[in-house]
């Protein structure tokens, strides 16, 4: 593990994050632009997941639930009542907050595996409920969002506005994480993750700290869910709330570096394009792309168990030192 609060030399990472919006403009076609949108979106989502699970060292393998709440809330409000997804996004956030308060209030005190299992259980229950309550959610058929481009509908013909939207989402989540790292909440949360009893003895109200972070994480994930729905324009329970989606949050965060503000972003910048490109180019043999992706993941986790970010930071620091040294001469 690395020092989690090393937010001092983040300048290079900020530059990467801010500059990444240029990339979609240089991509040749919609296929590659689509990959860019998904990369930004998953970067934001993984950072949201990391806000609780990464800093507090407690894996939630059920964040697809909040992705689903965000997606379904805005979509159902839009399709049934014509309410703008921008407002639907806030509604989804509010519902996620309530759900996270109830779920977190009851499960956050569970330790280790039991917490992990409870998060999976909640996501699965929500998925089954969405499938069975056909009257509201159209069940397993899913919901189509009619194509009516416009800012207020959060629907555009081109991929570029989506790239902007997902990029802004990612930047906002990053800002929140970086701000939190330098606050009482961040310090308390990391301390609880390291050693709950020792943190309590230093005046940290651990259950309150965890609950606040958990709710923040759920709400931010839910915002991403709305964007996801408006981008794909079709949602159905088994794809939105799949266990695979839940696991993707974790894969990206671990690959980049758990418990660091920029780790999940780095993870998504690396893994999301790789996974999409493999799917595109290795389609001749079915299943081959997941096999290759698996090998890549294993390699990363074997050689960089702390994630890629710490290595990246060392590399940048080396470069900065070098350039300073040459200037000095």
């Amino acid at each position: 593990m690395i020092n989690k609060l090393l937010s001092k030399n983040n300048s290079v990472l900020w530059i990467i994050a801010l500059a990444s919006i240029i990339v979609p403009f240089f991509l040749p076609n919609r296929y590659f632009q689509d990959i860019a949108v998904m990369t930004f979106l998953w970067a934001g989502l993984a950072c949201s997941w990391n806000l609780y699970s990464g800093y507090c060292n407690r894996l939630s393998i059920g964040h697809a639930a909040y992705l689903g709440i965000g997606a379904y809330s805005s979509t159902l409000l839009y399709v049934n009542f014509g309410i703008s997804p921008w407002i639907g996004m806030l509604a989804g956030g509010a519902i996620s907050a309530v759900a996270a308060l109830i779920i977190g209030g009851t499960t956050l005190r569970l330790k280790g595996t039991f917490f992990v299992l409870s998060t999976i259980a909640f996501a699965e229950i929500l998925k089954v409920m969405t499938i069975t309550s056909k009257d509201i959610t159209k069940g397993a058929l899913g919901v189509f969002i009619p194509y009516e481009p416009g800012f207020s509908n959060m629907i555009w013909a081109s991929k570029i506005p989506y790239a902007f939207l997902t990029w802004i989402y990612m930047i906002i989540v990053l800002l929140i994480c970086v701000k939190m790292e330098r606050s009482k909440l961040g310090y308390s949360l990391i301390a609880v993750g390291e050693n709950q009893e020792a943190a309590e003895n230093l005046g940290v109200n651990s259950s309150r700290t965890m609950l606040i972070a958990f709710v923040m994480s759920a709400v931010l994930t839910s915002f991403g869910g709305t964007i996801y729905a408006q981008y794909i324009m079709f949602i159905e329970p088994t794809s939105v709330m799949s266990l695979m989606n839940s696991i993707n949050f974790i894969l990206l965060a671990i690959t980049g570096g758990m418990g660091t503000a920029f780790g999940p972003m780095v993870g998504s910048f690396i893994l999301t394009p790789i996974s999409n490109l493999l799917r595109g180019y290795l389609s001749s043999v079915s299943g081959l792309h997941t096999f290759v992706l698996g090998l890549i993941l294993i390699a990363i986790l074997l050689f960089r168990p702390d994630g890629i970010l710490p290595q990246l930071k060392l590399f940048f620091n080396g470069l900065i030192k070098k350039s300073k040294a040459t200037k000095g001469v």
Partner: protein, 243 residues
Amino acid sequence: MLLKIDSVTKKFGGLSAVSDVSFELEEGKILGLIGPNGAGKTTLFNCINGTLPITEGTITFNGEQISGKKSYQIARLGIARSYQVTQPFGNMTTLQNAMVGAFCKTKSYNEAESIGLNALKTVQLDHKAEIVAKHLNLGERKKLEIAKALSTQPKLLLLDEVMAGLTSTEVQDMVKIIREINATGITIIIIEHIMEAIMSLSERIIVLNFGKKIMEGTPDEVSNDQRVIEAYFGVDEGDEEYA
């Protein structure tokens, strides 16, 4: 009276780890707590700071009853402790470790940083401020334990074997640090097995054995007391036969 322990009992099932212990502590003093292994010293600390709920009795701190409160509430009221087995937040730097406690009295990052740094200076660990805590050696970890506790700006400090495993120079160092902390007005209860250190530091000493208070007095009185010697070395029943 800063702290008043009134017939406190802590039972684990049928076993009384602490039974019917009472004492009072004035502000600004150093109180030693000694006794053989398993006498209930650490358990008593756990009861005072709320880690363990007590079975019977009451604990009053600064005129307020604290038994029954949670440990984070008690920490905020002004009781801090260090652990016998050090509990650093391994992936945070030394300074960040201290800042966690500092946030219990302030919300400002800069203020927390200066409180944390001050605590590190007190224990002479400020030169290691940017080192990740898991890379510290035992002596430094023990100091960090104290710094973390100090950063909560306590009125009462509970020190649990902060000198165990240290070299004799380190012990002298630590004794000096504890004196300095006490000189700033912080009351201290200290558990220690190194007799020289605890005898020179404490104004009064309480001896626990099998969870009971068997003796309270000045260091001189305690070291000459027959019951204390028996508790530590056992009753020599065979003496006469072999004489």
